[in-house]
Symmetry: C2
Amino acid sequence: MPEKVLDDISHRRFNPLNGSWLLVSPHRTKRPWQGQQEAPSKNQLPEYDPKCYLCPGNQRAQGDANPQYKNTFAFVNDYSAVKEEQQDYSPEIDNEDVSSLLLQAEPVTGRCYVLTFSAKHDTTLADMTAPEILPIIQTWTRIYASHLSPSHPLEAQAAAALKGIPENADSEVSPPKHQLRYMQMFENKGEAMGCSNPHPHCQIWTTSTLPEEPGKELVQMTKYRQQHGRHLLGDYVKLEMDKKERIVWQNDGFLVVCPWWAIWPFEVLVIAKRHVRALVDLTDEERLQFAEAIQEVTRRYDNLFETSFPYSSGIHQAPLDCSEEEAEASWFHMHFYPPLLRSATVRKFLVGYELMAEPQRDITPEQAAARLRDCGGELYRKSL
Amino acid sequence: MPEKVLDDISHRRFNPLNGSWLLVSPHRTKRPWQGQQEAPSKNQLPEYDPKCYLCPGNQRAQGDANPQYKNTFAFVNDYSAVKEEQQDYSPEIDNEDVSSLLLQAEPVTGRCYVLTFSAKHDTTLADMTAPEILPIIQTWTRIYASHLSPSHPLEAQAAAALKGIPENADSEVSPPKHQLRYMQMFENKGEAMGCSNPHPHCQIWTTSTLPEEPGKELVQMTKYRQQHGRHLLGDYVKLEMDKKERIVWQNDGFLVVCPWWAIWPFEVLVIAKRHVRALVDLTDEERLQFAEAIQEVTRRYDNLFETSFPYSSGIHQAPLDCSEEEAEASWFHMHFYPPLLRSATVRKFLVGYELMAEPQRDITPEQAAARLRDCGGELYRKSL
Ligand SMILES: O=P(O)(O)O[C@H]1O[C@H](CO)[C@@H](O)[C@H](O)[C@H]1O
Ligand SMILES: O=P(O)(O)O[C@H]1O[C@H](CO)[C@@H](O)[C@H](O)[C@H]1O
């Protein structure tokens, strides 16, 4: 394998999914560390915290009281980054005027949800079983479906998917007032990732604009289809199943890899094996397979350094309002970006060089995958 | 001013320098914070630390002993991210083969320096005067000049600049073995920015490749010149001097602004007022003006929350090896990316949404600039 040499030399790898390069310096983990250490994460939370604004029955900061929900509960964020109604802004654009060129702005409207993963304050995805994670995926699917544009290429799929999903009377989800363009589901887990409340939850920011990252991916995937007549992530799934060295885990529906172009030390990509364009394309069986994949990733993360592993994760799929071509180019996947590098207390900082020049990683994705493959046993906390 | 409404509504702003958008949500600082708090920074370091590998006379981890240097001292990093000599990697490229398309890599060689800012372990740029900062800029200029390609469009400027700069016998700087493409100077300051040693220093990573960020900027600046026949940052300097609301400070040579497209809460851009392409273009007077600008930024940062303010900073300028056109398109500037948002202990996390979708900021750049304008007095620590 000519690639073996990449274990030893500094090199750049290309991320075909977003079109950018990163620097890999495999020998660099050998340097001494005198900087900040994360505090070891204590897991001594109560199952119910009367002061938590996400626990069932509790009062929210500026909002209503939460219902006595059973597993998931979705509500509009009391401090949303974007809102459905706001003053208008529509400056005159004059391309001969430097203000129009250099001070460009456009209004963004939207709706932000918070979605709890469980009624229990002290649990995490790693503690839950795949059947316990399933309701989260069902709720994601319902929320996505209820924000789809009426003429969306996946309208029929959405209607079909909803038939297999129980209603969740607890959730405050309704169609948007004005059609929105993109829905970003993401979780910030752990204090190291800026999470402000340990109660297991994710956020869903839905905007009138297509954000940068999924936008870049859509451009790259569309170009690849035009050039090669195949799907970028479809080809990538086949290639990784063949090469094997970056695979962490798989089932019939999903492949879990440390991608060739991973930036974060133990970054993981969960990719649908067949051409799934969005949550509403998943069958009942695939939703459970996706729950299994999430369980495997989060449990392996916790086992790796025997800690509640911090990360940001997020789902990329077809926009809510899009053409046939954009829907077709989309390929369902989920990113996990975890900061820990060497132990529960030593993280990788993406700072100076990474911000000013180019992302840089220390261990190779192949080394990371091997370590994550090897820690698939029972959740370490269970046997403590 | 039609832009006044942007103080109240969610909107996107465009960064013409790197070609990407960010989300601004001015109302969002109102949300409660239950997450991680940075420890208040103690400044009780000794002036000399026998265990610090950067203090004069001390032994380095894998390296030599440091000389008894006076102000700056540059040496090749004992744990460089890139090296000058390594095994080769040159896979056969076959564009019909998915491996060639999806597993792209290229070798990167180079040289990484560490440069101390002062012999004193317990000082920072904010504590130093402009004349004390000047030797740092002189050393940067010497290092840049000694890595320029022999046929570089700025060769004559480099030779002239060196005449005004005293030799620094303490520095282990020499021309590279093989010509390199780009030199990234950057500082990580503070534990929150992954700095592993408080002794004031920066790093200089020099690579055979043009990294992503300066690469994107060069493309944008070149395009702007082609389309408008003027320089992007030249136009921007004029525009901001006219608008005033984002100016933090200025002298004859440099403008300090919170740019229209700032991502970090108190992000600052230091821009040369005239067309300076690289450090070697600066006159003796301008080097001192640049030192003043750095002093003003770092002192204001510390005064803002009365703490030793963490940040990453970095200089962008003409590549070491480039065409006449690339040199001409370059416009010397320095970025400061500081994470603190609300106080010495509450930072902004660029996590879930920012990583998965698009950078998001809370206060507007105009609000940030107003606050930095107002804290220009003496360094708060002096009167404690
Ligand atoms: O070289 P240092 O200071 O040990 O390391 C720091 O800066 C580097 C360059 O930005 C980063 O890659 C590291 O993650 C960070 O900890
Ligand atoms: O919404 P939260 O959890 O209060 O806030 C967290 O996630 C947001 C979305 O990634 C970030 O913008 C914030 O900086 C972070 O602290």
